[in-house]
């Protein structure tokens, strides 16, 4: 089993590296994330940025970048889902009980996603260790955290409540609450962050609705919760 851990770690480093290099080549990627998280940016800087970058290309970049983050979190959640619900689910749930089973799933999902993220961060710092890189990683971390949390809440409520509307509402609430907290904490003005958030929110709803079908295919799993 230990050798498999090494293989998994190697794969995680490889995938994270490719993702990072890919993102790094996107035209406005870094600067957009600088706006998202850097509290020192003045309002005039922001206006300047807006004038310079407020265009279709920026919006496409935002969608693309966040879609990529979202894909990573979805991949992680499907992995956990297939492993601990579809296959070993009935056995594990009878041992843990419903509540502890959900906590177990949430813990596994977050641990997996954040271990990938940690590898990503370390790798980035090794490739390019400067302040700018650090800030972009911080932004990435924040974004990833918001998306992952929202996605995890969607999956958990979908499994627990079996109600699409309720699950969507919960995931949107978590997404909105975390975004708002970030705005307040970093004292951000109404910015492209809001624009990207709204666009991404629409995407979350669309993709989550797609997931509903997959979740419904596992009717037996729904029944156990």
């Amino acid at each position: 089993m230990r050798s498999r851990y090494f293989i998994n770690a190697f794969l995680a480093i490889g995938v994270s590296g490719v993702v990072f290099l890919f993102l790094d080549k996107l035209p406005y990627f870094r600067y957009l994330f600088l706006i998202d998280s850097l509290p020192q940016l003045s309002y005039s800087d922001f206006i300047f940025v807006m004038e310079k970058y407020y265009c279709l290309e920026v919006i496409v970049d935002i969608i693309f970048t966040e879609l990529l983050f979202y894909s990573i979190s979805v991949f992680g959640i499907i992995l956990i889902y297939s492993r601990y619900i579809e296959k070993l689910g009935p056995v594990i749930i009878t041992k843990l009980g419903k509540k502890r089973f959900l906590l177990f799933l949430a813990k596994k999902t977050l641990a997996l996603l954040f271990s990938v993220l940690t590898v990503f961060m370390i790798l980035t710092l090794v490739i390019e260790s400067n302040y700018f890189s650090f800030i972009s990683i911080l932004s990435f971390f924040i974004r990833f955290f918001i998306i992952t949390s929202s996605m995890t809440v969607f999956m958990m409520t979908m499994i627990m409540q079996r109600n699409v509307l309720y699950s969507l509402l919960m995931s949107i609430l978590v997404y909105a609450f975390l975004n708002l907290s970030i705005f307040v904490y970093f004292n951000l003005v109404v910015s492209q962050t809001v624009l990207s958030s709204i666009l991404f929110l629409l995407m979350i709803i669309a993709i989550n609705l797609g997931f509903v079908k997959i979740l419904r295919d596992y009717f037996g799993i729904h029944e156990i919760i």
Binding site: L88, P90, V91, I93, T94, K95, E223, I224
Partner: protein, 221 residues
């Protein structure tokens, strides 16, 4: 009769289809109880309801004085066997290890003992995806009995097993009964049921009745 499981007025509906109709039953402790019936008769559904994996549409199941779904989510100290899969890339031992890690009560000795009991000791390092149907079923049995549970809920435990393995598993179940375990199982094969069970129930069209021996479901092994 010392009852361990009480099934009270249990009905189960899937949309408009009523799979179980007003089932009332008492299952005694330290005995083997069997359910027979044709495919789709509701055997597995009943076992899943007993295991807490399905909620009854009406009625309840009480195990050891605790109502499933109210006092407890699932019965305590239970080993289950349903048609689920293990992780294909892991070996038999690694798969059992993952499950054992949840309780943190079983060590490697216990796992290898369970594998040995079902005749998979020498295959413990083999990946699950390379297992035959019979070996997969044996691994499920090993998983169900590891940890020495007092109650075993086994859905079609003989499925996919060859003649020799069927004999082994029968002997195993009888020895578990001698050791004081309660076993509830289903089977298509009347021979298995007759050989093992202290009491047999027939499920037909969602209704349950004591089997009077005139049922011929499948050819024996």
């Amino acid at each position: 009769m010392n009852t361990i499981i009480e099934i009270n007025d249990v009905c189960k509906k899937f949309k408009d289809h009523e799979v179980l109709k007003n089932v009332n039953l008492k299952i005694p402790r330290n005995q083997i109880t069997g359910f027979i019936g044709r495919n789709g008769s509701g055997k597995t559904v009943l076992l899943k309801i007993i295991a807490g994996l399905l909620k009854p549409s009406l009625g309840n199941v009480v195990i050891d004085g605790e109502t499933i779904g109210i006092d407890t989510d699932f019965p305590k100290n239970v080993g289950i066997l349903f048609e689920y899969d293990f992780l294909p890339n892991l070996t038999a031992h690694e798969n059992l290890r993952i499950i054992a890690n949840i309780d943190k009560e079983l060590d490697d000795y216990d796992l290898f003992k369970a594998l040995e009991t079902v005749g998979l000791r020498t295959e413990s390092k083999k990946r699950y995806r390379h297992f035959s149907t019979g070996m997969k079923q044996k691994l499920r049995i090993a998983q169900a009995i590891m940890g020495n549970p007092q109650l075993l809920i086994l859905d079609e435990p003989f499925n996919g097993l060859d003649v020799e393995s069927v004999k082994q598993v029968r002997e195993l179940l009888l020895s578990l009964k001698q050791a004081g375990k309660t076993i509830v199982l289903t089977s298509h094969y009347k021979e298995d049921i007759d050989f093992l069970c202290n009491q047999v129930f027939l499920i037909k069209d969602g209704e349950i009745s004591m089997n009077n021996g005139d049922v011929n479901l499948e050819k024996p092994h």
